[in-house]
Amino acid sequence: MLAGILSEGTELDENVKLALSVFLAVAPLDIKTVEAPPEASPVIIVPFEPAQISSPTINALGNSPLRMTGNWRVFRPVWNREVCTKCMACLARCPDGCISLDEEGFPCVDYENCKGCLICVRACPAEGIEKVREAQVL
């Protein structure tokens, strides 16, 4: 079926081989289903609250970092301080704005919010940022 899409026979073979190895690498496990206990929270009468409380507005601005989004990451950027020239190219390019400078002027990243896009890795003229896999699959 894939033959029409992939022109090279070898590419198809390679893919099949790769898919098979991934399939075999996953150890079979028994899945037991347990019925979740029904929620015990009682139904309430929702009280009236004036618009000052109940309008969909946010007064506490700039509070997004409270919601940690770093767990999306597959690769993590790691800085090599020996190579870093403090040029700040990574800081300027970070789409998330989660790179800042520490007391010594080296870039440091908020890993709780870094999504691992690795634009910084490519932006670094000194090639001083390494990408490190978050969790190694055995």
Binding site: R67, C117, L118, I119
Partner: protein, 280 residues
């Protein structure tokens, strides 16, 4: 990233008026990444929302109900779906009324938030989920991209520019120049969209750079309709270099090269630069 640079250039005293786009999901109750004010309106009418906010601030200050120190810059932020298609009427209205506001359009060349469907900003030959290349329609999107720059320019706004995340200094300079004018100040930013474009997120800046180096994305400005190019590559790279690395154009190369379409895309780019006498 562009947004971050834009906001840096604009300062804190800003209210962003947003239309339905990926950015709408930035401010989700109870969290907001912005230190400035924000109003989500609807997909079609962010410029009308900007009109309401601007006029209200003006009239409240005029009547002494609000201190002039409390004034804000009004900034419309939308995607290309809203800017190129649904919001054209309200944008045209705001330009016609010479509304004093900024407009930043994030152009990822399709309806990205809904999963990458064709929009008026989709370029010729792009695969989208509504222009899947098939036996009868092998090239993907069969229509060339609308020229929003020219549509906006026909209203003769005081300032209009294209920007790119790969050229932050160009971007900051343009915001500085725009700030000298009252009236509409408009920006269209090419915004690589990794899931839609079929590219690795780390390559986003490189791609934006390639778009400029191949001439696909012209960095320019228009002051009261007078066009000037701000970054002109000394030698244009072939457009293929930009296209080849992107999943949305992969069908133009494999299984067989679609020469005619590739030629047409290149020809359209050349024609643009010849028209502006920057390509001989």
């Amino acid at each position: 990233m562009t947004l971050r640079h834009c906001l840096k250039a604009l300062g804190d005293r800003v209210v962003i008026v947003n239309a339905a786009s990926c950015f709408t999901l930035l401010a989700i109750y109870p969290l907001s990444p912005f230190r400035n004010s924000w109003l989500y309106t609807a997909m079609a009418s962010a410029p009308a929302g900007a009109q309401g906010v601007r006029d209200a601030l003006d009239v409240l200050i005029e009547k002494g109900k609000l201190d002039f120190e409390e004034d804000l810059k009004v900034v419309v932020l939308t995607g290309d779906g809203s800017a190129y298609d649904m919001g054209l009427s309200s944008t045209s209205g705001a330009l016609y009324r010479n509304l004093d506001f900024y407009y930043i359009c994030y152009d990822n060349e399709a309806y990205g938030n809904t999963g990458f469907q064709e929009s008026g900003a989709t370029p010729l030959g792009s695969k989208t989920t509504t222009t899947p290349p098939g036996e009868r329609h092998p090239i993907g999107s069969e229509l060339p991209k609308k020229d929003l720059f020219e549509i906006w320019k026909s209203h003769r706004p005081p300032y209009l520019a294209t920007i790119s995340p790969a050229y932050p200094i160009d971007l900051i300079n343009k915001f500085r120049r725009a700030g000298q004018h009252r009236g509409p100040k408009l920006f269209i930013s090419l915004a690589p969209c990794p899931p839609g474009w079929g590219t690795d997120p780390s390559r986003s800046v490189d791609l934006a750079k390639l778009a400029v180096e191949t001439g696909v994305w012209a960095l320019k400005e228009a002051v009261f309709g007078e066009v000037g190019h701000t970054v002109v590559p000394k030698r244009f790279k072939p457009v293929e270099e930009y296209l080849r690395g992107q999943g949305r154009f992969a069908h133009l190369f494999r299984p067989a090269r679609q020469e005619e379409t590739l030629r047409e895309i290149q020809e359209r780019v050349d024609e643009y630069w010849r028209l502006h006498k920057l390509l001989l």
